[in-house]
């Protein structure tokens, strides 16, 4: 199998204004994915990573598992500190970039100035904690890195209020429930997981969570937190809740200040604006990961995707293009898999909220294993959500990604010869058969 290299990705890779040094700001999924891509394309080029943190790459997705005690503290770490050197990546630990100068092609940290030929900004995002009364008290936490989890564990929480019910909120709720905490989730919107699931599946998930003892209040927002030196209770617009810990999981802010100060344009939603090659408006500067504003693969609308897979994908594109390749980012496609007390909850593509469109057709089904719903627009699958089902989803994902018209699918399924050739549709048949009717 041929190993990918720079030449195979684009013939017109221009080697005369040779790119010798690539600087990557950040050490998250996107930054690491970019670095690895560059390395796999070109073993000689100098790659410098500048990271604020002092820890190697970790997967934020495993943080709740660590919090619950299902995995050890070392499990979330994907790389070991010396992996960077082994890969030939120069890692500048614990330094934050103060300034980017596009004219001289340099970045300046507190202690040094580094030249770059291409720059990749992957500064990520930070948890949004509103400036409320008491949000600075001891006992307020966010879930961003391993140290946050360490801090929560050291705090020995008993009664926890989780603000926000996105995937992080829900996972942390289950994790803390596992630690025998009394957990309350507050969601501002009228249902949990509002950006990921529609009403029906979200309701079912909420039911499972409540049946396991997690209290959920939707349509409420936290207005104040009180306590002497540490969190003792919280007030929503409807009630007071006794708690010793508050976990803020209600959205994030893009870390765009550095880019903004260098004159890089931001999008309407507040992320760094990039084109389909992950390029910013300034030449030789690329951006990827949580800090950028990309477009949705299915709807084409601008979106702030905060998913691990999206960051990895964008990092790959940015990394390759920083070398002079011309890869095109197809857009962000949501894929969220949640374990809800042993039941697998899956959402892919867009949900109803993201599709506010009248032509939307919704197919729902219930098997003895679980529930599923498919959103179809213009004969193409736009979204899929399920609870309790693990088989046949890959094919749906592929059909959605390929934007395959359903009439083509129906044609293939009605022809045995074609079906054998396109046999990968078959596990998804229970869903696809329903669409025909």
């Amino acid at each position: 199998m041929p190993k990918p290299n720079a030449d195979s990705c684009h013939d017109s890779l221009v080697r005369e204004h040779a790119i010798k040094t690539i600087v990557i700001i950040g050490n998250g999924a996107a930054a690491n994915s970019a670095a690895e891509t560059i390395r796999s394309y070109d073993p000689r080029i100098q790659v410098i990573m500048v990271a604020r943190e002092n820890v190697p790459e970790f997967s934020a997705c495993a943080l709740p598992d660590y919090l619950a005690g299902w995995v050890s503290r070392s499990q979330p770490f994907i790389k070991k500190p010396d992996d960077y050197a082994n890969m030939g990546i120069e890692m500048h630990w614990g330094q934050s970039v103060q300034r980017i100068d596009p004219h001289t092609k340099t970045v300046a940290t507190e202690s040094e100035t580094i030249n770059y030929d291409s720059l990749i900004i992957a500064t990520g995002s930070r948890a949004a904690v509103p400036a409320l009364n008491g949000s600075g008290l001891r006992g307020n936490f966010v879930i961003k890195d391993v140290a946050d989890i360490d801090a929560i564990i050291a705090h020995r929480p008993k009664h926890v209020l989780i603000v926000g019910s996105g995937n992080i909120g829900i996972e942390v709720a289950q994790a803390l429930q596992e630690r025998e905490c009394k957990v309350t989730v507050i969601e501002q919107r009228e249902r949990i997981l509002p950006r990921i699931f529609d009403g029906e599946p979200a309701g079912r998930i909420a039911e499972i969570l409540t049946s396991h003892g997690i209290s959920i209040y939707t349509g409420e927002s936290v207005v104040a937190i009180e306590g002497y030196q540490r969190v003792e209770r919280a007030f929503t617009d409807k009630r007071a809740i006794l708690c010793d810990t508050v976990v803020w999981a209600a959205g994030v802010r893009q870390n765009t200040e550095l880019a903004e100060s260098a004159g890089i344009e931001l999008g309407k939603l507040g992320g760094i604006s990039v084109d389909t090659g992950m390029r910013t408006n300034i030449a030789s500067i690329f951006a990827c990961g949580d800090c950028v504003e990309s477009h949705d693969m299915l709807t084409g609308k601008a979106t702030l995707s905060l998913l691990w897979t999206t960051a990895k994908d964008q990092g790959r594109i940015a990394g390759a293009n920083s070398l002079g390749c011309k890869l095109v980012y197809p857009g962000a496609l949501n894929l969220v898999v949640e374990d809800i007390y042993g039941q697998c909850a899956v959402s892919m593509g867009v949900n109803e909220g993201g599709l506010c469109n009248q032509d939307l057709e919704i197919f729902e089904g219930e098997s003895e294993k679980g529930y599923w719903r498919l959103l179809v627009r213009e004969d193409r699958i736009m979204g899929f959500q399920s609870l309790g089902i693990t088989t046949g989803l890959g094919a749906i994902m592929a059909l959605m990604k390929n934007r395959m018209p359903l009439r083509t699918v129906a044609k293939i399924l009605s022809d045995q010869g074609m079906m054998r050739r396109a046999d990968w549709y078959l596990p998804a048949r229970p869903f696809l058969d329903r669409l025909k009717k």
Binding site: S367, E368, K369, P430
Partner: protein, 633 residues
């Protein structure tokens, strides 16, 4: 999840009257003494069904016993035995089927399933990874078995089901229990027992895997067994044509049932049913769990009145029974097989009863007025119509649904056309054309007129000679075949006379019965390539590696013999007599294109068989010594 070794380790008892469930541990001595499958069934039915029980009453017990080696990659290990007191014979009713039901039941945690009592309303049983539910079957009761299966499989994806069709619900005496879409526990009317219990289906789904006791050696033995089977000369033909292989030689011996055993073979049989015809209709093979042969074919009918029919078919038994027995065309045979599956009827018995009706019609015993239509041999449409009538017990079909024996008694002058032994309709082979171990096996079979419990493992279909006065059949193979046969030497010397080139039918019958019993206990298939090459020696090795219970070849055969004796004792308790082991009168009075049978000679061979079994030659009862030897006292 529990990790099981060899056996799942539990027996599930369901009482439908009380809606009560009980789970018993599988005792070790049960495993050693009765192995599994038919062995468990024999013991449980013998112990739990009192003498004189009404087969269709609440006291009859229906047992599903999974073969001991099912769930392993041992080639062809897939089979499950179902037993109860038969409504057809009033004796031990039992039937064997493969596919995936057995492995699912075992993976769901049970080696055997015992069903007692009678539900007041239609129910079905759902068994899933150790959880058992009795559920209302209003939705599927009354549906044909395919429609019911569609509903169940949609509801429980990945599950397997044993279920009955309308015939079972209507207590047609020869109703069968369907095993998924195309297979069945067909013979001896077990579907009627299930229907009488108002149990529509048993749905099983399991995920608890089984582990061999010694993985490496088991893998090695299973692979050796596979190579042995593949080395059999019967392997390739069976792979290509399945059981249809036997039809050609038996046709040329005039030993195939034609028009209700009026003749030994139809003249056009070769053109219409030869193997090339099979090739024309079939495409692709279908296998049971772990099978390397895949003898079943996928049949698609592309033209004619039955165009568009697609199913797994082309088994020799239904094809000959309908095709030659009733004179139907090959395409109509497939249609009849489809109806048999949907209605859930034993096709051998159904075809026999239909042929009987056709003969009665031709001879004027019954009239077109009684029937509602004319019924001649070879009239596909009328035959299929009659089949429909039988399944729904309409008109004369109501009487015929009682089976050949009872219908013969109810219809004046019908008795002589009822082709049954001990109440079970005879299958497609005609002993007048060829008297062999197979034919004697029909007389000695505990379940009545049936050919599947005794077959010479080295039957030679090239020769057919009648000069041995029913005592011998031609051996016809070379020294190498003789040596390769896995049989204790002293017995082999007695059974096969190499110099005279003969096989002793009585001794070989006993051996073959025990061998097949062993296969049915372990869940291995009895297809000729397997029966030919797999003997007790390798089975003992495999059994030991799989379950961790040290058993020798002799001990396995002894267990098989014990099982046979228990079934025989059950039959004797139910009043079976030596006179019952008799072919229908026609075989002694008409030659059927070959030769008439000689009753005295056959009785003599039967006595030899009883002696070979260690039974009393006059009464055909296991002697007290035998009973003691087998530990049944």
């Amino acid at each position: 999840m529990r990790k099981s070794i060899g056996y799942a380790g539990l027996i599930l008892e369901v009482d439908l009257s009380e809606q009560h469930l009980r789970v018993r541990e599988l005792p070790d001595d049960m495993c050693r003494g009765y192995l599994g499958g038919i062995g468990f069934n024999a013991r449980i039915v013998y112990d739990q069904v009192p003498a004189g029980t009404d087969p269709l009453g609440p006291d009859n017990v229906l047992v599903f016993g999974v073969g001991a080696m099912v769930g392993s990659p041992f080639p062809t290990a897939s089979r499950t035995e179902v037993s109860a007191k038969s409504p057809m014979t009033g004796l031990f009713g039992t039937s064997n089927s493969g596919m995936f039901f057995g492995i699912q039941l075992k993976n769901a945690g049970f080696d055997a399933l015992v069903i007692k009592g009678q539900s007041p309303t239609p129910v079905y049983l759902l068994i899933e990874d150790g959880s058992v539910n009795i559920l209302g079957a209003a939705e599927i009761w009354g549906q044909d078995s395919w429609a019911a299966l569609d509903i169940l499989k949609n509801k429980y994806p990945g599950a397997e089901a044993a279920l009955i069709g309308p015939a079972g619900e209507n207590r047609v005496r020869f109703a069968c229990i369907e095993n998924s879409y195309y297979d069945a526990w067909a013979r001896t009317g077990l579907g009627a027992v299930m229907g009488a219990k108002k149990l529509k289906a048993i749905v099983v789904r399991g995920r608890q895997g089984l582990s061999p006791h010694r993985t490496d050696s088991f893998i090695e033995i299973a692979w050796k067994a596979r190579q042995l089977i593949e080395s059999s000369p019967f392997f390739q033909p069976f792979k290509s044509y399945g059981s249809m292989n036997a039809a050609m030689p038996y046709g040329s011996f005039k030993a195939l049932n034609a028009h209700n055993f009026n003749r030994g073979c139809l003249p056009d049989w070769k053109e219409n049913f030869a193997r090339n015809k099979v090739e024309e209709l079939t495409k692709g093979h279908i296998a049971c769990q772990s099978c390397i042969i895949a003898c079943a074919h996928w049949v698609e009918i592309r033209e004619g009145p039955y165009q568009g029919l697609k199913m797994k078919d082309m088994e020799v038994t239904p094809t000959v029974s309908f095709g030659s027995g009733c004179g139907m065309s090959l395409e109509a045979c497939v249609k009849a097989a489809e109806m048999g599956q949907r209605y859930g009827m034993d096709m051998v018995s159904a075809a026999s009863v239909m042929a009987m009706a056709a003969e009665m019609f031709t001879r004027g015993t019954i009239t077109a007025e009684e029937l509602g239509y004319e019924l001649n041999f070879g009239d596909d449409v009328a035959m299929l119509r009659l089949m429909d009538d039988i399944a729904h017990r309409r008109g004369l079909g109501d009487i015929l649904a009682e089976g050949a024996k009872l219908a013969g008694q109810k219809i004046a002058g019908g008795e002589e056309y009822a082709m049954h032994i001990k109440g079970l309709e005879m299958p497609m082979i005609d002993p007048r054309g060829r008297f062999s171990t197979w034919s004697l096996g029909m007389l000695t079979n505990v379940r009545g007129g049936d050919h599947l419990r005794c077959r010479n493992p080295i039957e030679n279909l090239r020769y057919n000679e009648n000069k041995f006065a029913y005592q011998k059949e031609r051996f016809g193979f070379d020294q190498k075949m003789y040596e390769a046969l896995d049989m204790p030497d002293h017995l082999k010397k007695k059974a096969i006379d190499l110099e005279a080139d003969t096989t002793d039918i009585a001794i070989m019958s006993r051996w073959a019965e025990d061998l097949i019993n062993l296969f049915n206990a372990l869940g291995v298939c009895i297809r000729p390539p397997v029966e030919h090459k797999i003997g007790p020696t390798i089975l003992a090795e495999a059994f030991t590696a799989w379950t961790g219970m040290e058993m020798t070849a002799e001990e396995l055969m002894c267990a098989a013999e014990r099982i046979w004796n228990v079934m025989k004792l059950f039959n004797l308790r139910e009043g079976e007599k030596t006179e019952d082991s008799r072919f229908p009168g026609r075989f002694y009075q008409e030659d059927g294109g070959a030769v008439k049978l000689d009753e005295q000679q056959i009785t003599r061979v039967l006595r030899q068989y009883y002696q070979a079994r260690g039974w009393e030659p006059d009464s055909g009862r296991p002697s007290p010594e035998k009973i003691k030897e087998l530990g049944l006292d």
